[in-house]
């Protein structure tokens, strides 16, 4: 009996060591820029993401039912027919308004960045990341719709982020609110260069801006085009806080993103055509560094 227990605890120790080693290896070798989903992950994501979309649409329908029908339950008999007619018309009007608004939003989205020579793909948000440590959105478009990894994601208000992981039908966007997403940006007025990182809640930090640069509140922050992900000149946000000490090299700058992430419904994915060429360039650079 004691021998069996010893064997059990030995097996447990061995398994613990193997799993911990694999996990530590995974953590240290993890690529923070982009992540290729495995076939198994793709299968699970493609199976489970429609459920996330389903839950959202059920919520919308329930809210609509509550708004438009349940309130009328107490209406008097004489008015029932009239109210039904009015409700029906209101519903139609509401639907028409929604369609018009959606149409306007989508037109605005498509008009946005007309001069950006990239393929534009419209997508809807279906869920957020399961961990509050990350600011990641899931959209209902994937590789089969022409989306590629590291494609820029925008709205008419500005930059949202880039495609970090994807399957055939769904993709995860690493938003600019996430601390591991770093965007090379410029202050539009002074052309001061810096790196934008997600900070806390809905804010971002602009780092490495020299203390002597005359950055002011409400200065517009735009993408610089460096880094091979975001096209140049996309709106990112406005400077919401500047702290300049009498010492140090850089200044503390907080940026409020121009995109309202709490009300985000649709986004546009900008897919670059020359991806393979860019990949070859990167590969050549990596190879030369390895040599």
């Amino acid at each position: 009996m004691k021998m069996m227990l010893d064997e059990g605890s030995r097996l447990k120790t061995i398994i613990n060591i193997i799993v911990l080693s694999a996990a530590l290896y995974g953590v240290t070798t993890r690529n923070v820029d982009v992540r290729e989903a495995t076939i198994f992950e793709s299968l699970l994501m493609d199976t489970l993401a429609p459920l996330q979309r389903g839950v959202s649409s059920i919520h919308d329908r329930v809210v609509s039912a509550v708004d438009h029908y349940i309130l009328n339950v107490q209406a008097s008999k004489e008015n029932i027919q009239l109210k039904r007619d009015v409700d029906e018309l209101r519903n139609q009007l509401f639907s028409m308004n929604q369609i018009t608004k959606e149409n306007e939003r989508l037109k605005k989205l498509l008009r946005f960045g007309e001069n950006i020579k990239r393929k534009k793909i419209l997508a809807q948000i279906v869920g957020w990341d399961a961990s509050s440590d990350f600011r990641v959105l899931r959209i209902n478009k994937g590789a089969s719709d022409g989306i590629k990894l590291q494609s820029t994601v925008v709205t008419s208000q500005g930059v949202v982020g880039y495609i970090y992981r994807m399957t055939d039908h769904f993709a995860d966007i690493l938003t600019i609110l996430d601390p591991i997403n770093r965007v090379d940006v410029l202050i539009d007025r002074t052309r001061s260069n810096g790196i934008l990182e997600g900070f806390s809640g809905w804010k971002c930090l602009m780092k490495y801006v020299t203390r002597t640069d005359p950055v002011k509140l409400n200065d517009m922050v735009v993408t610089s085009g460096l880094g091979n992900i975001y096209p140049k000149g996309l709106k990112v946000g406005l400077v919401s806080k500047v702290e300049r000490e009498s010492y140090g090299i850089t200044q503390y700058i907080e940026v409020e993103p121009s995109v309202d992430f709490s009300k985000l419904e649709e986004v546009v994915v900008l897919v670059a055509d020359n991806d393979s060429k860019k990949r070859l360039e990167w590969k050549a650079l990596d190879d030369s560094e390895a040599d």
């Binding site: 613990n16 996990a23 995974g26 953590v27 959202s56 899931r138 992981r165 995860d172 709490s262």
Partner: protein, 175 residues
């Protein structure tokens, strides 16, 4: 509770299905109510349950499976949670005789304490990787409400998982 290897698979499968359901709900329903800054990490609760109540040499593999299922819904990946989960289960195995589940309050307090340990482990790993203490502080302010909600859910959630894993209701974590 000591579990036979054959009994593990069906219970683990059901547990992962439950995790999928809860993740789908928390990732798509909570944001609809504007709760985007906070997410309920049900994977932590499941791993703590496994650590508290299941005695098996394959516990680390079970933790890995749960974390892998969780990673479908987050870019966090399975690695960090697996390290935290396995280390915490090792700690639990040493404290097994001291820990009891005789009342809801004890369950809540114990779960909260081990969530703090989870936070310490993951924060240390994050600090090693990012070198940014400010981020850990931000993470702590998010961790506090999330962990309190999880601890309050723990008595109900554990009694539900007791049924899935057929754990006898003596309230003790040890056999």
């Amino acid at each position: 509770m000591r579990v036979n290897t054959v009994e593990i698979l069906p219970s683990l499968f059901i547990t992962i299905l439950i995790l999928f359901l809860l993740e789908v709900l928390s990732t798509s329903v909570l944001p609809l109510f504007g709760l985007v800054n906070y997410m309920i990490p049900f994977n932590v609760l499941i791993i703590l349950f496994l650590g508290f109540k299941i005695e098996s040499p394959y516990l680390a593999i079970m933790i890995l499976c749960v974390q892998y299922a969780h990673s479908i819904f987050t870019i966090e990946g399975w690695e960090m949670g697996t390290i935290a989960g396995v280390l915490i289960c090792i700690v639990i195995s040493y404290l097994r005789d001291l820990l009891h589940f005789s009342s809801n309050l004890l369950t809540i307090v114990t779960t909260q304490l081990f969530q703090f340990l989870w936070f310490l482990v993951t924060s240390s790993l994050l600090y090693l990787k990012l070198g940014d203490f400010g981020y850990i502080i931000q993470k702590f302010w998010r961790f506090l409400p999330e962990s309190i909600v999880l601890s309050l859910l723990a008595p109900f959630f554990f009694s539900f998982l007791d049924k899935v894993w057929r754990v006898r209701g003596e309230g003790l974590m040890a056999e």
